[in-house]
Homo-oligomer: 299 residues x 2
């Protein structure tokens, strides 16, 4: 997790910009050009998404340490969308950003090795090593246990394991009581175990956890319980989590978490008094404001 | 689940062929042609995978009701591999097969809607509805609860929720005790609830469950506990599950489950006394033998 934490220290902003490109988030002029050129096709949708993402990355790369493309919003546009995901990752990395692919992958060991190779590592094609996506980190659902985690760690990259997710129904399973501790806390304890051999310069391991801003009490309790587990915190902004709600995510040094914002950054051009052409500038202004709000609660 | 069950009745074989195309499973002559034409590229790997899959589908379509492509083995070859997944699904459906995309997707509601549209439904691109993948069913990891399930059911298609998975570490979380019932059984109870409004002609709902052949006692207990939940049973063959191990998966009418076989079918040409050119015939012979073994334990 050292690379990510160093980027956060350099920028001063513990923010990850969620790249969840719904077509309605993309200004008309970008879409119209793509549809005129390529018709009403998945290829056109993917082209508009990529152009939008690249402009956002240009506007954010010096102030935001990381981006988090959400795989579902690319798969939605078929293999053409998946190509836009690969190109978005490559572009963000070329601008020095840390890339977390939010794909919540999970499977048995041999199959999980294929996911790890796809998203974090490389594959061998007739003796040639090729990097299919090449993200720096992947979100993982560990309902299947260690078999699901180890192949990712073998790549040397980072993962974020779902513990307490931000959605309304997260408690149906995750809050179930197991001998006095909730399932999400048991999952957190596993994160500490899985990460024990990869603790870095800042005291955090390669195994992070996803803990939602929408459950602030659980977030604070997990921060105390899991001293070596770095948190990826979704649910800020549009989903209802406030800056105050995430105060408990940080450790005494003000580290230990990165907070995701998707809609607020992506759609800043819609809410501010902004022309659609300035969508990337509006995203930058929103990210700067969010950074200030987070610094205020950390102090 | 009626469409799948009807296909099983027609063929007499409760078998799904897992299309998990590792390059080492594919006969040399198919790969050599692809590498000669396209170089050592993801495109070449994906082309070999597609040609292999199409030949298997041709050999299996009249005796095996369903195929289950495992998304990881396509993502591994980048967007080019994902294109081979889309083309494999289209080809299998054109031959009348039921397609289960094994992708174990999961996310919060709005994002899960994007996965459901991608894999089971259609997306709107500037007023045109396009089907990106178009499978008949999707495997789902429901650690996030109902939010993860409902968007899939809204498509009218089927899902299989992970309950007790076939891998060695599945018990780390899934066997944890919750007031006298294991987590996997609690997940099974949720499947009954989620499916309650979609029970079809054979008494099974649109919400199935994944229960591994490698845990026969749990498999039999879940069959009794979950009368409306159809089972997708992995772990037969290469993972260690025998025909006897899955006897408990079926109901009194001999229905209630479909058993996956991947490696045994895909690599039949390696183990039998077969020339690599006859890989599809060997797959067919293996599927017929598996069908016989399953019918024997059901009687």
């Amino acid at each position: 997790m050292d690379t990510l934490i160093r980027r956060i220290e350099e920028t001063g902003n513990p923010i990850v910009a969620g790249l969840d490109p719904m077509l309605e988030y993309i200004p008309e002029h970008l879409k119209e050009e793509a549809f005129a050129r390529l018709g009403n096709t998945l290829e056109a949708a993917a082209a508009a998404v990529l152009e939008y993402n690249e402009a956002l990355i240009d506007a954010l790369a010096d102030i935001v340490p990381a981006v988090k493309p959400q795989s579902a919003y690319y798969e939605r546009f078929g293999w053409q969308g998946f190509r836009a995901l690969a190109e978005t990752i490559r572009y963000a990395k070329s601008k020095g950003m840390f890339v977390i692919t939010d794909a919540k992958r999970n499977d048995i060991g041999s199959t999980m090795s294929a996911y790890a190779a796809a998203h974090l590592g490389s594959v061998d094609v007739n003796g040639t090593a090729i990097v299919p996506f090449g993200a720096d980190a992947l979100t993982v659902n560990a309902y299947l246990g260690s078999d699901c985690v180890k192949p990712c760690l073998e790549t040397g990259k980072d993962i974020f394991v779902l513990c307490k997710t931000s959605n309304p129904s997260s408690g149906e399973l995750q809050d179930l009581p197991l001998n006095g501790v909730a399932l999400y806390a048991a999952m957190g304890d596993w994160c500490e175990k899985w990460g024990a051999d990869s603790i870095g310069d800042y005291g955090y391991s390669n195994v992070g956890a996803v803990v939602g801003a929408t459950y602030p009490a659980q977030l604070a309790r997990l921060r105390e319980r899991l001293p070596h587990t770095f948190f990826l915190v979704p649910g800020y902004g549009a989903q209802g989590g406030s800056a105050a709600d995430i105060a408990g995510a940080f450790d005494k040094q003000g580290r230990g978490a990165i907070v995701n914002s998707s809609r607020a950054i992506l759609c800043a051009w819609k809410t501010a008094n902004t022309s659609p052409e300035d969508f990337a500038l509006a995203a930058r202004a929103e990210a700067l404001a969010m950074g200030e709000a987070l610094r205020a609660i950390k102090n």
